[in-house]
Symmetry: C2
């Protein structure tokens, strides 16, 4: 159990989730003493629905992924991912070190046939509802083929979780015209056009929150910056709004009356409700929670895992990939079974 807050947040969040969802079972993975201490604070006992799986160490948030993979073979992260491989768990949710989680998952679970590397997908709110964006930082310097794979995986994710046939897929670029953007994006657009997906074409940064498409495909560097810049803007606007209502006695009074409205507004834009990025393209469901997630936020990451299990997302992704013209034209594509060295 990693993340910035470890068992202090994850144990109560898991216990809450079990209360609300009687058909779910959770295995807590980590240092037994730390977990038991939290359970005793909550006055909750282990049961067949809430089991404990011991690990002797924890991946630190600052550990190099290589160190985590090579030297911490009994970390809660590694043990948790192993549970999927061994069929003891259907999904793994972690608030730990992102790089280590990607490396560990990729090494232990392997990627699906036709997938080079896993990608991080998140749900984002839009004016119309919400959209799915990938990659959010698992990959920098993506090839056109990887961007195509992101499109196929994102489309399969939305069609399984949202029961939406042929979700629209947009390619993040700096202009709508096909001539704009760099060579990689131009080639990716060609591949996506020929992919059989419902490819909308190029979209711009402003389209993300307009909800122009159901899926947004981008390089992990660009996606990560866009996401974090968006969080930054929301934070700044929130600060500005608070400042305006606190400007003087009169504005404070109005603020008092407006507070239920502001509260609903803030709840609506609360990024904690979008916590939980899917690590797509693996032979197992792995969800990355924000490292600083609180009890409330972590519950959404668990919910994301449950949704993907129920929607049979993994099977849908596999199916979409092996049926894609790209895969069929490259029958030689096999599951990647990289060594530790290749992963890092």
């Amino acid at each position: 159990m990693g993340g910035d807050r470890g068992p202090r947040v994850i144990v109560p969040s898991a216990v809450n989730y079990l209360h609300r969802n009687p058909e779910i079972s959770i295995i807590l993975v980590g240092i037994p003493e730390a977990i038991k201490a939290q359970l005793s604070i909550l006055n909750v006992k282990l049961s067949h629905r809430l089991r404990l799986y011991a690990a002797t160490e924890v991946v630190d948030m600052n550990d190099q992924p290589s160190l985590a993979l090579r030297s911490k073979k009994d970390s809660s992260m590694r043990v948790g991912v192993n549970l999927i491989k061994n069929g003891e768990a259907q999904a793994c949710v972690s608030a730990g070190n992102t790089g280590a989680l990607i490396a560990t998952s990729r090494f232990v679970l392997k990627t699906l046939p036709g997938i080079d590397r896993p990608a991080l997908a998140v749900i984002l709110p839009t004016i119309k509802g919400h959209t799915y964006m990938l990659d959010l930082g698992a990959n920098v310097d993506c090839s056109p083929e990887q961007l195509l794979q992101f499109g196929i995986m994102g489309s399969a994710l939305v069609s399984s979780v949202e029961k939406k046939e042929k979700p629209s897929v947009g390619l993040l670029n700096i202009g709508e015209e096909a001539i704009k953007g760099n060579e990689t994006v131009r080639q990716a657009a060609d591949l996506l056009h020929a992919s059989g997906l419902n490819f909308y074409g190029n979209i711009e940064g402003s389209d993300i929150y307009k909800g122009t498409t159901d899926v947004i495909v981008c390089d992990g560097f660009v996606g990560n910056v866009a996401l974090k810049a968006s969080e930054g803007v929301a934070q700044m606007l929130s600060t500005y709004l608070r400042e305006e209502f606190k400007r003087n006695l009169l504005t404070r009074l109005v603020g008092l009356f407006a507070s239920p409205i502001i509260h609903t507004f803030k709840r609506r834009i609360d990024h904690r409700r979008y916590n939980g990025a899917s690590l797509l393209g693996l032979r197992g469901i792995v969800i990355k929670s924000h490292g600083s997630a609180d009890n409330y936020a972590f519950g959404f990451a668990i919910e994301r895992a449950v949704q993907e299990i129920r929607s049979d997302t993994l099977c849908q992704i596999s199916k979409h990939i092996v049926e894609s013209p790209y895969y069929l034209a490259n029958q030689s594509l096999q599951s990647q079974s990289p060594s530790e060295k290749e992963i890092l």
Copy 2:
């Protein structure tokens, strides 16, 4: 006079600006009939402070930069940029086609010694005040050396316009740790460290609006997406806020009382006040206004040009570059005087 709205917006905006700034003179460049029609609506006459320079054609917003450069040699854009070269104007402000403006400016004015390609720099609001970010889309696939040049130019811009000695420079990346990001960004960080600039190090997307640094350096693709995503979030939040205040009769009533506060809030985040991107690195001041800018917004783009003239920004940038260790170590660097073909 290009842009989405042409003389209908630009002429009244220029006339307004002259009223407010009696020491400034403006040359209107475009199709004389179109400009004169707007002047007659405003009942304003040409004078020594408001002159007209005729052009026979206009670069269309959808024209390829190559077409604009090769075939529209008497466009308002080309004539306007020529005025700087001939010493008849100290700056050029355009709401026209971005790609064409960059290509035209680069071809006509040439870049400064030590600068490979010009970059677009904008001012963005932050929690603390504001920050300068470049590049915003003039360059995709930047080299580490270009990112260094952006750092030097951005630093010179801030130190001249804001009278700030040694502005801090951040490099946009996907993690604060030096190991993260792609190879280009890693190499750029090394160059920036050795540059003599006040280099802060890597920053993340969320740092943009925190105001972590005075200058933010990034590749044009990433910068463009981050900027447009930010505008998208602000737009969505604004819509959400309006919706919450219009939810029912009671919230509408509260909204009535809160409207002056919301108005101040909206004014504060009004992106029109940040209109005007500086095309840095040229032997002349060129400001790109948003194509869809209105009268109010276009005035800020003119103001940006006037500020750079008054602050002697051009000279400051030249000075910073030729004094940089990078330039001194590469004395062979000469002004780029590319042909039309090389530019496109």
